[in-house]
């Protein structure tokens, strides 16, 4: 795959658009099909595509293993943190109404941050899984 020039050029052109599409799906979850989970999978797919064309080493340089694992954990903490913020601001857990002076805007904020956390986690999980299994069993050896 590495030597094929057509693949390399097209990949370099396409990956940014794939990532942009992932962000589009992420932010348009309110108005159309979309949201954190779908966006995270699309973003991970972009990275996987990159790795398929340029090799695992290049992918690991771009987005190392430990970063995927930290993103995974950070996303969950972000989600739970939004809930705790609701608690600290006087409402119940995961209460979005108190996150802003105007309750409806509070809902927007809450959902925004929560979906950001979901996207982080899903991207991290998909990439971690891919990295773990991509270089296993090459010579019959694994971790």
């Amino acid at each position: 795959m590495k030597g094929d020039i057509i693949l390399r050029v097209i990949a370099k052109l396409l990956v940014p658009f794939m990532l942009l599409f992932a962000l589009y799906v992420q932010f348009h979850g309110d108005y159309g099909p979309g949201g954190g989970f779908q966006a995270g999978v699309i973003a991970a797919t972009a990275i996987v595509f990159y790795v398929l064309v340029f090799g695992l080493e290049a992918g690991r340089r771009l987005l190392p293993d430990w970063l995927a694992e930290k993103a995974l954990a950070a996303g969950v903490l972000l989600y739970a943190g939004v809930g705790v913020a609701g608690l600290l601001l006087g409402g119940n857990y995961l209460d979005y109404f108190v996150l802003d002076a105007d309750p409806v805007h509070g809902q927007h904020r809450g959902i925004f941050w929560v979906e950001a956390g979901v996207m982080l986690t899903v991207t991290g999980v998909m990439l971690k899984l891919f990295y773990m299994f991509a270089d296993r069993g090459r010579d019959g050896e694994g971790e």
Partner: protein
């Protein structure tokens, strides 16, 4: 003209097919596929009754008064994520079994365990 209760017939067919694959096939990967088919039937069970005839997608838009029920969609999104996690875990365990036993066939694994015990 679709037959009455088509979605329910499909649901039952997928459910039973998935369970059959899970039970009858010895290959660990095929069992996982059976599990995935079984879970898909459940998604159909929830979403098909959620659609109202003449209702549009459950997203607030001008000019529409009749919306399909959004709750099944939310529930099934959650269920799909759970299904993905289960599938990922199952495949990970299968890869590790392959490394430990050298095979993914259930009967061969039992053979090797029995040989270990002697």
């Amino acid at each position: 003209m679709t037959p009455a209760y088509l979605s329910y017939w499909l649901t039952i067919f997928l459910m039973v097919a998935g369970l059959y694959i899970l039970i009858a096939r010895g290959n660990l990967l095929k069992k996982l596929i059976g599990l995935a088919v079984f879970q898909t039937s459940v998604y159909l069970l929830y979403i098909a009754p959620g659609k109202l005839i003449g209702g549009t997608a459950p997203i607030v838009a001008e000019g529409f008064t009749r919306y399909s029920n959004p709750l099944p969609h939310v529930l099934i999104l959650t269920a799909i994520v759970v299904g993905v996690a289960t599938l990922a875990l199952g495949l990970a365990i299968t890869v590790r079994i392959r490394e430990a036993y050298g095979t993914v066939e259930e009967d061969e694994i039992l053979e090797r365990d029995r040989a270990d015990a002697e």
